[in-house]
Structures are given as structure tokens and as C-alpha cells.
């Protein structure tokens, strides 16, 4: 609710200054928040339901949220001073690096499913909530590092990003197969196939978005550096029309 409200406030601020914000991005944000909320609401004791919620929280919601470019909106909606401070945080090198995010995300999953953390989380609601928050945040960081168009001064080139995501997809698939052979107590072995095939489907979406971007840049689409090195002080003065790309995620 707070996330949806804050985003709406940001868009409204821009609109009052006469700056356009593509409705497709707002739509992606609200959809992402809705998916995350729906997945986060239940406390699933059934492993099948837990894995479906895991996919929605860890990957489906992050894709939608990343497409909404919340950091760009934040930088534009804030006054120059606070925007500068946000930009300063973004310059922390390790934070936006895909490797950090991939280790956080895949590492968290391995810990959850290969130790007794899963059983512990099932027994304690607060721990379960913590696991869910970690899943959403790590999923967001990873997706943003791979296909994000928000400003990230330290974002590495496509080769590094592609290889990191490839390693992540492999780790995810290996873990799903391992879970098939070693399901947690009370789960069916077949349940892990949801994680495997569902994960494949969502990873495929990320890979398509990734290559669409790479081929657009290779084809000479302008604006890459403009989005890589933001300068909130000159990003958009009131009255200046922002260049709007029609499609999501481009």
C-alpha cells in the first residue's frame, strides 16, 4: 500500500511540473506491488504453495517493479538536495553489482532449502516474513542489475551481466533438481518441478528483456549513457518535457 502510494505521489509531482511519466510504468509498478502482496499474504505450510509464492515474490514481482523504474522516478520527484543524496547512495560500487545480488539471491535460496531454515521459518511467522522480504529485495536487486534501466553508475557491461545471470539460472535449476531428490519433510518430490519450470519461464522473460536491450544498444539506440550517468540537478527542470519511450522496459 505504502509502495503504491509513494509511487503515485511521485508521478503526481512530476505531472504538476508538466513532466510526463509513461502510464505503462505506473501500471507495471501497481501490478508488481499487487503480485508481491498476493504472494506475501499467505503463510504457506504446503510446499507447493510455498514454491509458487517464492516464484511470484522472488522473480515475477521484481520484473514488474524493475520495469517501473522507481529510482528514476524518485530522483526526478525529489528536490535536488535529497535527490543528490540518493544518487550518492547509488554510487556505492557493490550495491548495484549483479554479482552481489546473485550471491544474495541464490545464496539465500540455498540456505533456505538445504539447511533447516525452511522448517524454522515455517514454525515462526516473523522468520517467515523475514525470508519473504529477503526474497523480494534480493530478487529486485538481481533483476535491476541485469535488466534495470534505472541509473546505476557502476553497472557492468552486458557480458558480465549475462554471465552472472546465466550462473544464477544454473544455480536455481540445480537447486530445484536437488530439492526434487531431497524434498523437505512433508513435501512431495514432484513439488520442486514448480520451482524448476516456473523459474525457467520467468528467467526466460528476463533473458528476452536482457537481449532486447543489448541488441537495441548494439543497433545504435541513443541514450545509454544518458541513463547511466544521471545528474539529478539537470535531469529535468520544471516545464521540460521528458522524452517518453512508448514501450515498457526500453
Amino acid at each position: 500500500m505504502a509502495a503504491a502510494g509513494a509511487y503515485a505521489m511521485g508521478v503526481e509531482r512530476l505531472r504538476r511540473r508538466g513532466v510526463d511519466w509513461p502510464p505503462s510504468r505506473s501500471l507495471a509498478w501497481y501490478a508488481g506491488v499487487a503480485v508481491a502482496a498476493a504472494a506475501g499474504l499467505g503463510h504457506h505450510h504446503d510446499f507447493r504453495a510455498h514454491l509458487s509464492a517464492h516464484l511470484l515474490l522472488g522473480m515475477a514481482a521484481p520484473i514488474l517493479l524493475v520495469l517501473a523504474r522507481p529510482v528514476t522516478l524518485l530522483l526526478r520527484a525529489l528536490p535536488v538536495g535529497p535527490a543528490r543524496r540518493v544518487a550518492h547512495v547509488l554510487r556505492t560500487p557493490f550495491m548495484t553489482h549483479p554479482l552481489t545480488a546473485a550471491v544474495l539471491d541464490a545464496g539465500g535460496l540455498w540456505l533456505l532449502y538445504t539447511t533447516d531454515l525452511y522448517a524454522q521459518a515455517m514454525a515462526r511467522p516473523w522468520l517467515h516474513t523475514l525470508v519473504q522480504v529477503h526474497m523480494l529485495l534480493a530478487g529486485y536487486l538481481l533483476t535491476a542489475a541485469i535488466i534495470g534501466r534505472d541509473p546505476a553508475p557502476h553497472r557492468p557491461g552486458p557480458l558480465t551481466r549475462g554471465l552472472v545471470f546465466l550462473a544464477f539460472v544454473a544455480a536455481h535449476g540445480i537447486l530445484a533438481k536437488y530439492l526434487y531428490g531431497h524434498p523437505p519433510p512433508g513435501a512431495n518430490p514432484g513439488d520442486a518441478q514448480i520451482m524448476y519450470y516456473g523459474g525457467d519461464l520467468l528467467h526466460l522473460v528476463v533473458i528476452v528483456l536482457f537481449f532486447r536491450r543489448v541488441s537495441a544498444v548494439a543497433g545504435g539506440e541513443p541514450g545509454r549513457h544518458a541513463s547511466r550517468y544521471p545528474d539529478p540537478a539537470v535531469a529535468d527542470r520544471p516545464g521540460q518535457r521528458w522524452h517518453v519511450r512508448g514501450r515498457l522496459g526500453r
Binding site: G162, L166, A167, V169, A170, A171, G173, I174, K177, Y178, Y180, G181, Q193, Y196, D200, H203, L204, I207, V208, F210, F211, R212, V214, S215, A218, G219
Partner: protein
């Protein structure tokens, strides 16, 4: 020429792994999703290959789209590379993955000899067909 071969080869790899997954795992249920005798190294290499084939297929299609846009698409080297790559994967799958790593078998509860031989012969035929296409193209270019 170079990008035609690259695009064809990447799609060949992506298609071969996808067809394997869809036909033998999903439709026929011959292959097992994970048979418990799989050693760790097999599981890891299978995971990496599976992820790589996704990247390969998507990259191949974007490359193909850009070749067509630039008008530099050439069917013969593209198909040649596709067949060679698909055959090479099938051969790798049939020898290293099924036999050496014992990831899973083609089918369970039957004598495997005929299955293994046809699997690998199909692979070799694909490689030969692709090589012929590539060689013909090269000769046509040189001549």
C-alpha cells in the same frame, strides 16, 4: 557470414535442448527429471547447459532479427550451422551425459542398445548434413 553461422549454431543448441526437454521429458516421459543415481558433477553441468541453452536460443533469435533487418541473412550457412550444433549437442547428450555422467537414460526398463545407437546415429547424420551445407556455401563463395 560469421553472424549467420553464430546465429544458426546458437539456435541449434537451444532447439536441441528444448526438443529434448519437450519430447522426451514432457511428452513421452521416457527421460526422468532427475534420477537419483546422478552424481553431483552431472547435476551441475546439466544445470549450466540448461541455462546456457536459454541464453543461446534467445540471443540467436535477436541476432537473426538483426541479420534480416540489415539484409545480410544467408539461409545456407545459417541452416548448416544450426544442424551441426543440434547434432553436436545430441551426440554430447547421447555419449557424455547419458553414458559417461549417467545423468539419466533415454528410456527405463528396456534394453538400451537400440535406443542409444539410433540416438547417436541421428546425431551424426545431423552433423554430416550441416557440414555439407556449410561446405557447399563455402565452395559457392570461393568459386
Amino acid at each position: 557470414m560469421k553472424n549467420n553461422v553464430l546465429s544458426g549454431a546458437l539456435l541449434g543448441l537451444g532447439l536441441a535442448t528444448t526438443l529434448d526437454e519437450v519430447v522426451f521429458h514432457q511428452l513421452l516421459h521416457w527421460h526422468h527429471f532427475y534420477d537419483k543415481s546422478t552424481p553431483a558433477v552431472g547435476l551441475v553441468s546439466d544445470g549450466i547447459l540448461h541455462a546456457a541453452s536459454f541464453f543461446a536460443a534467445v540471443a540467436a533469435l535477436f541476432l537473426l532479427a538483426s541479420l534480416r533487418r540489415q539484409g545480410t541473412f544467408q539461409a545456407r550457412p545459417w541452416w548448416g550451422a544450426l544442424l551441426v550444433a543440434a547434432g553436436a549437442f545430441q551426440l554430447y547428450d547421447g555419449t557424455v551425459q547419458h553414458k559417461l555422467m549417467r545423468l539419466h537414460q533415454i528410456r527405463y526398463g528396456v534394453d538400451l542398445t537400440a535406443y542409444d545407437w539410433s540416438w547417436n546415429i541421428v546425431a551424426v547424420l545431423l552433423i554430416v548434413a550441416g557440414t555439407v551445407l556449410l561446405a557447399r556455401f563455402r565452395r559457392a563463395v570461393v568459386a
